[in-house]
């Protein structure tokens, strides 16, 4: 049964997953090529100094990519699920409903994690060959909030999709937009979110409740 649930989620998301993975990796390759050309043009010292003294991370191209990936994956996964009230089929499956929703979210989050790990991995492995480990760590800490924003975007999109009424969808959506704005208040400052990372992770764990709440509401008949 578990494999069947994952199979269904995979069928819905596999196309977007591969497109997103390709885009993410292309952006990563672009970031590397651009850094390389800057080294050829100005020398590696200039890059180190810019990073140390001017807070230049050389990865800003990918700022909004993880968010876009998160939103796209959430939509690809949940829209076919809720179109034509198909959610009724899913909830009718002889499987504990909460665990079922948890499995769906876990599959989506795992796919995101794979994309994010591969993208960040490619960039950080490259960076590790040219920058001091502390600088690589700073680049990682700069990118981390962008990836966390991707998870937040995904979870808000899933809860908005699974919600049955337009009124609550709009409320959830507005709160989601506001939360995502917070995630991009200082996108160019390196490691600006250091004090908030743990809070964000806890927050991500908390907002998974919204998807479960949407399902609970759906089951009570809150549907347009």
């Amino acid at each position: 049964m578990y494999s069947s649930i994952i199979f269904k989620e995979w069928l819905k998301t596999r196309r977007v997953f591969f497109i997103a993975l390709a885009v993410a990796l292309l952006v990563a390759v672009y970031v590397i090529l651009r850094t390389n050309s800057l080294i050829n043009e100005h020398g590696i010292v200039s890059l180190w100094l810019s990073m140390l003294l001017k807070d230049v991370s050389y990865v800003d191209t990918l700022t909004y990519i993880p968010l876009a990936v998160g939103l796209a994956l959430g939509i690809a996964q949940m829209v076919p699920e809720v179109a034509q009230k198909r959610l009724k089929l899913t909830l009718h499956l002889p499987f504990p409903q909460l665990r079922l929703v948890a499995m769906m979210l876990a599959t989506g989050l795992l796919e995101l994690l794979v994309i994010y790990l591969l993208q960040a991995g490619v960039i950080l492995i490259y960076d590790a060959t040219i920058f001091h480990s502390e600088l690589v760590g700073r680049v990682f800490l700069t990118m981390l909030p962008w990836y966390l924003a991707g998870f937040i975007g995904y979870l808000f999109v899933t809860s908005v999709c699974l919600e049955g009424t337009w009124y609550m969808r709009i409320l959830l959506g507005l709160v989601g937009v506001a939360v995502l704005l917070v995630m991009f208040l200082q996108p160019t400052t390196m490691a600006a979110y250091n004090y908030m990372i743990v809070t964000i992770v806890v927050f991500i764990a908390l907002i998974t409740i919204f998807s479960f709440g949407s399902i609970a509401r759906f089951k009570e008949g809150h549907q347009d």
């Binding site: 959830l172 208040l185 400052t189 004090y195 919204f210 009570e220």
Partner: protein, 417 residues
């Protein structure tokens, strides 16, 4: 699950609104800073204030001198008159009009003298309150061709010294050995708490780094001919340094400045013994206050802005004795006052004084309690006949968070019942 969902959504919406609403409010009622331009005049030995807010004539700021004893406004001046009272600042304007005096206070001055002996130092909390790398580029202080070049190595001091070659991104063992020996010889305690240097090739000389070690000892470090040059700066036992600032001014008067844990500001004089002089009358916490020092031949004019209060202190450049003091308090504006009646508190994620993003609750105001009570009554009225516990929860939240909770509570009425 559903209950948790509603409670979580209500709390999150309240939190979001306590950020968004004050932000929108300040966007609608933003104001410019009213702080005046203040400088010390060597001609009549008092502060000259140029106040841009209470314009006396159209386009002309109000300019007046401040009585050094009473701190009250004295004679008023025109802009031209002011320029002649502050010749070391408005040297350009004066000389273009041929009005530059040959001597000030009986001392002959040339434009070059003024330029060589004038500098400005400023520091803002934002410079310190941010995530700073502890990787320090090391410049060669005595370049072979007398022209500074970009650093080739960086210094790190986590638990030991490492000199890393930038080009190869690997340890420079020779230099690391030399530096490690020097640090050990000088009794340096790891890890370093703070290091400050000024990495640029556009300077006339290099003062390297000022470093506070793990035991609050102060060091001066330079790299000369690829070798370390290090000195421990002797400090009185009672002085615990907090923040250091390297200076490379043309007058070669100072190695730099530092503050201690009591927010005193000290100058490290550019002499053999690294003598220290406390700047009297100045309290400066670099993590919270902005400072601007305008130094010229005749005075140091130190401005420290701490919250709403700004203080100017004029110091004698020879013995750092206080010449005059001027305090200014930025008046609370109507919009700032009126928001206190609307918002019981605010959440912000950023601050002008740092470069971090994290939630901070502030601006608590009791004045909003009246609005909160009214809104709570509306919530209670609207929820009559509903679940008591739920109503009490919503009312309590509205009583504390006011408008921020009232809006989502009312919006959620048709969602959760």
């Amino acid at each position: 699950m559903k209950k948790t969902y509603y409670i979580l959504f209500l709390l999150l919406s309240t939190a979001v609104l306590s950020w968004v609403l004050p932000w929108l409010y300040s966007l609608c009622f933003s104001e410019r800073d009213r702080e005046p331009f203040v400088s010390y005049s060597p001609i009549n030995d008092c502060f000259i204030v140029t106040d841009f807010t209470n314009d006396s004539k159209a386009g002309e700021p109000d300019i007046f001198e401040v009585d050094p004893v009473t701190q009250t406004p004295g004679r008023h001046y025109t802009m031209d008159e002011r320029d002649s009272l502050l010749p070391e600042i408005f040297v350009g304007q004066l000389s273009s009009k041929g009005q530059m005096p040959d001597s000030i206070k009986g001392i002959e001055v040339t434009m070059r003298d003024i330029r060589m002996n004038s500098w400005i130092f400023s520091s803002s909390p934002k410079d310190l309150n941010r995530s700073v790398p502890t990787v320090y580029p090391l410049m060669e202080s005595m370049p072979a061709r007398f022209k500074f070049e970009d650093p080739e190595v960086v210094l790190t001091m986590p638990g030991h010294v490492e000199i890393i070659n930038i080009e190869s991104n690997s340890l420079d063992e020779t230099k690391t050995g030399r530096f490690a020996k020097m640090f050990a010889d000088k009794g340096f305690s790891f890890p370093a708490k703070e290091a400050n240097g000024n990495i640029t090739t556009r300077k006339s000389y290099d003062n390297g780094y000022l470093i506070i070690d793990g035991d609050n000892k102060l060091y001066h470090l330079k790299m000369q001919a690829n070798r370390p040059s290090m000195a421990r700066i002797p400090l009185n036992d009672t002085i615990v340094p907090r923040h250091v600032f390297v200076m490379e001014n043309a007058d070669r008067l100072l190695y730099g400045l530092f503050t201690d844990e009591n927010d005193n500001l000290y100058a490290i004089n550019h002499d053999e013994t690294y003598s220290i002089t406390k700047l009297n009358g100045v309290k400066f916490n670099p993590e919270k206050d902005r400072i601007m020092i305008m130094k010229n031949l005749f005075s140091w004019c130190v401005k420290v802005k701490s919250g709403n209060e700004t203080k100017w202190v004029a110091l004698d450049p020879d013995d750092y004795s206080v010449l005059a003091v001027y305090d200014f308090s930025n008046p609370t504006s109507l919009s700032k006052e009126s928001r206190k009646w609307i918002f019981p508190f605010t959440i912000s994620f950023t601050d002008v004084d740092d470069k971090y993003v994290y939630p901070r609750v502030g601006d608590w105001s009791w004045k909003a309690v009246w609005l909160n009570i009214v809104l709570t009554l509306i919530v209670l009225f609207a929820a009559r006949g509903r679940n008591i516990r739920c109503t009490i929860g919503k009312a309590a939240l509205t009583l504390v968070c006011g408008l921020f909770a009232f809006i989502p509570v009312m919006l959620m009425k048709r969602v959760a019942n």
